[in-house]
């Protein structure tokens, strides 16, 4: 017990919402952070599949933004949600093709370390 307030009381979900009004901008920040994480993932990870995963992360970050925006503009608007559905579908297609290419690369190089795929340069 710290002073007169019990920490457990504070952690009640409806209290938290009461203290901090969650506005769409918060979602934008979250989405921005997730997007950056995805981008960093693409730049840093050596494993091709990990890169694929980070690309999916970036796309989902965009979905968050869209949903937040759509939600903020009231229930009637369906643009955002239809856009999100398209994105999800396309992301799936992309993932398949990416995996197929990585598989083909694996068959040749016996490993999918992205740095080995640099035969062509200058």
């Amino acid at each position: 017990m710290i002073g007169s307030i019990n920490i457990l009381d504070i952690l009640k979900p409806e209290l938290i919402c009461a203290i901090v009004r969650v506005t769409p901008t918060h979602y934008l920040y979250v989405a921005g952070i997730v997007f950056c994480i995805g981008l960093m993932g693409v730049m840093i990870r050596r494993n091709a599949i990990a890169i694929l995963m980070s690309i999916e992360l970036m796309l989902n970050a965009v979905n968050i933004v869209l949903i937040a925006g759509g939600r903020a503009y009231g229930p009637k608007t369906y643009d955002a949600s239809s856009f999100v559905i398209f994105i999800i579908a396309v992301a799936a297609a992309e993932a398949i093709v990416g995996l197929a290419l990585i598989l083909a690369a694996y068959r040749h190089m016996k490993d999918i370390n992205i740095d080995d795929m640099s035969i062509m340069k200058w």
């Binding site: 640099s118 340069k121 200058w122």
Partner: protein, 642 residues
Amino acid sequence: MNPVLPVLIFALPVLSFGITVLIGRYFPLKGASVGILGLVVSFILSCVVFYQLQVDPTRTIDLSVTWLDFGEYTIDLGILIDRFAAVMLVVVTLVSLCVHIYSLGYMKGDRRFTTYYAYLSLFTMSMLGIVISNNLFQLFVFWELVGVSSYLLIGFWFERKPAAMAGMKAFVVCRIGDFGFLIGILSLFVATGTFSFGALFGLSQAGAISSAVLVVGALGIFFGAVGKSAQLPLYVWLPDAMEGPTPVSALIHAATMVAAGVYLVARTLPIFSTVPQIMEVVAWVGGLTALFSATIAVAQVDIKRILAYSTISQLGYMMLACGVGAGASAIFHLSTHAFFKALLFLGAGSVIHSLHTNDIREMGGLFSNMKTTATVFIIGALSLAGFPPFSGFFSKDEIMVSVLESGHVWLYWIVVFTAFLTAFYIFRLIFIAFFGEQSERSKHAEESPKVMTVPMVVLAVLSVVAGWIAIPGVGPGFAEIGGFELHHLHINWSAMGTSFLVVLMGIGVAWAIYSRRFVESRSIYNTFKPISKLLENKWYVDEIYNFFIVQPVIFFSRLLFAFDMVIVDGAVNLAGWLGVRLSKFEGEFDLAVVDGAVNGTAWTARTFGRAVRRIQTGLIQEYVIVASVAILALIIIGYYLM
């Protein structure tokens, strides 16, 4: 007198030049006949013209036809025949005729006999062109044509290196004179808008032309004359021109071409007279040239070199006469000099023809086996020295008188001393070459053929008779004949006396040293060692010119060429060279660079390209990094800076 006559005189040599050049070989005497025939007709016609003008001086011809017109200005060609021109016509055609005949013998058996005669006709044509032209432009055209024909004739035996060099030297030095002449013509034309003598004289006499233009014009014309008549600064080409065949030297470098300069100054005297200080310059240049070349002639051993320097000295006399305004006496001396100097050269030619050497020390006692040549040569010498009653005496005396009366006392004494030197060096030649013991060469020398001796005899007669015109009783005096304004005809006995005395002293001294051997010439040579050495080497003038002008110009042109290669062209080559150096230095990074020097622009593009290419590492992740950094940068710049 209808104008066709003088045009015909001029046209005949042109015709003979054309014929000889193209089809000369098929004519008798291998083309010589064409030239000689043409000249005979020209000579007769010029005598007719001369006679007609003497009878009725008013029948001068001055007509011209437009050659190129530019609205307000026109350049036209025309002829001006007056008594002055008539005299020159006669002199030129006569001497040229004698040389043509003489060359038949001298040049017999030469490989390029026809071309020789073609060149002779070319020369006669251009000389006549100078004499009859009535404007400065036309005169300049023939002036340079004369220069070309002298180049061709001097360098006739071009197999011999010195002959080729002499030809080129003659043309370039004359060209320097022509450069001055051109500037003179340009300034006169731009100021007055016309070239013709008549208009120019009228304007200059009336004072319509500004003095600056007149000075430049007169100086320019005089500069041209100096170049052609081998006066002091530009005389160096004449002695070397002796490399050409002797008849050529006789015709061109004694009688006619070199006289063209004097003719020009005499013809344009009205312009000169309006600018007194230029007259002074002309006078002094003439006087000094006479003295200077006479001193050199004294110490020469080549027979033709002596005569060449003597010509320069006599030309100095004529230029001096023009300088003091005595045009008549200048032309009178020009005519007489033409005869006796041509005679001397032809004589020298026949001596060389039989002895095959120019060096007078190898000659000796030629009088015995070359009778006619020797006598004729002596007559010429006497006339040159100015020994009465020969023509030289009268013309030279008139010049001395006019110099004295015009008040140039210093010049008078210079001229008198030169007369002494002239007499000395010509008789030194006579005594060494024709008298004294025979050298082994002159033992088996035999007289030249008739075809060579006849012209010499003709010239000998003329060089005796020509002077008598000036004797009051016998002839009307040259001023009258030449159509110059009449000034009182009187005889200045004291001047005549001094000149005769000086001539006698000259002959005496020469006789003493070389004939009687009272004093050994060798000992005189040693006592005045430095001076005689100096004179022998022609005051080292050639060496000085070579050192101060020719070499620097060649050096400067090489310098400019290097400058052109390195600096101006360098921007491209240097960069290219640098590029090649850099690429070799870089080693394995460098793919096949364009072989050879790489062009500057390509090089800069290449190095920039090689730097930028670094980002193309082939690693996909680096692509993504670079791309996102670039986008970020763009947005930030867009967001904040703009």
